[in-house]
Amino acid sequence: SAVISQKPSRDICQRGTSLTIQCQVDSQVTMMFWYRQQPGQSLTLIATANQGSEATYESGFVIDKFPISRPNLTFSTLTVSNMSPEDSSIYLCSVGEEYGYTFGSGTRLTVV
C-alpha cells in the first residue's frame, strides 16, 4: 500500500496565524483527501484535491479558510488560515487504493 509522509506531526499555534500541513505520497495518485477530526469526534472530509484543478470542498468548508495546493501527483498541502481555538483538531490526508484508503500519520494542531 502507499506510504504517506505527513508534516508536521504536531504544532501549537497562536490564534490568527496560519499553518500549512504537507503530505508526500510514495506513488502517483489521482486524488488526495483532507480530513479533520475534532476532539472526541469522528473524521470529517474537508476537501478532495485533484492535480491540476481546484479542490472540491465539502459543505461547511471554504477555500479561504482551508486553501489546498496539489502541484503534482505525489504531493499536497492544506493550510489552516486565521486560526481560532475551534480549529484545534487532528488533520489527516488520505489516498484511495484498490483495497481501501491509506492515511497519513496525522497532524495534531492546538490553537491557543
Partner: protein
C-alpha cells in the same frame, strides 16, 4: 445524506474476552464498508467489505457485512491490551471516492 452509526460508543472488557462492534449505515449507491483502528492519530486499515455474507478474517479479527439489513460487525476474539483503540467504520459510494465515517467505538481492554 450518507449516515453511519456505530455502537456501542465505548466498551470496557477484560483481556481474553470476545467483543462485537456494530456499524449500521444508510448510503445511496453503496460500494464498500471499511473498518479502521485508530490508536493515536492515523487510522490503520483493517477490512474492506463489498459483498454480503462473506466473512473477512485476519488473525483474531473478523468482519461480515449484511447488505440487506445495512449493517456490519467487527469481532475481536481473545482480546489483548494492544487492541485498545477507537474502531471506526466508514462507507464509500460508487462514483464518489470519499468516505463517510461513523463516530467510532472506543474499546478499552483491562489486563
Amino acid at each position: 445524506e450518507d449516515k453511519v452509526v456505530q455502537s456501542p460508543l465505548s466498551l470496557v472488557v477484560h483481556e481474553g474476552d470476545t467483543v462485537t462492534l456494530n456499524c449500521s449505515y444508510e448510503v445511496t449507491n453503496f460500494r464498500s464498508l471499511l473498518w479502521y483502528k485508530q490508536e493515536k492519530k492515523a487510522p490503520t486499515f483493517l477490512f474492506m467489505l463489498t459483498s454480503s455474507g462473506i466473512e473477512k478474517k485476519s488473525g483474531r479479527l473478523s468482519s461480515i457485512l449484511d447488505k440487506k439489513e445495512l449493517f456490519s460487525i467487527l469481532n475481536i476474539t481473545a482480546t489483548q491490551t494492544g487492541d485498545s483503540a477507537i474502531y471506526l467504520c466508514a462507507v464509500e459510494r460508487f462514483g464518489n471516492e470519499k468516505l463517510t465515517f461513523g463516530t467510532g467505538t472506543r474499546l478499552t481492554i483491562i489486563p
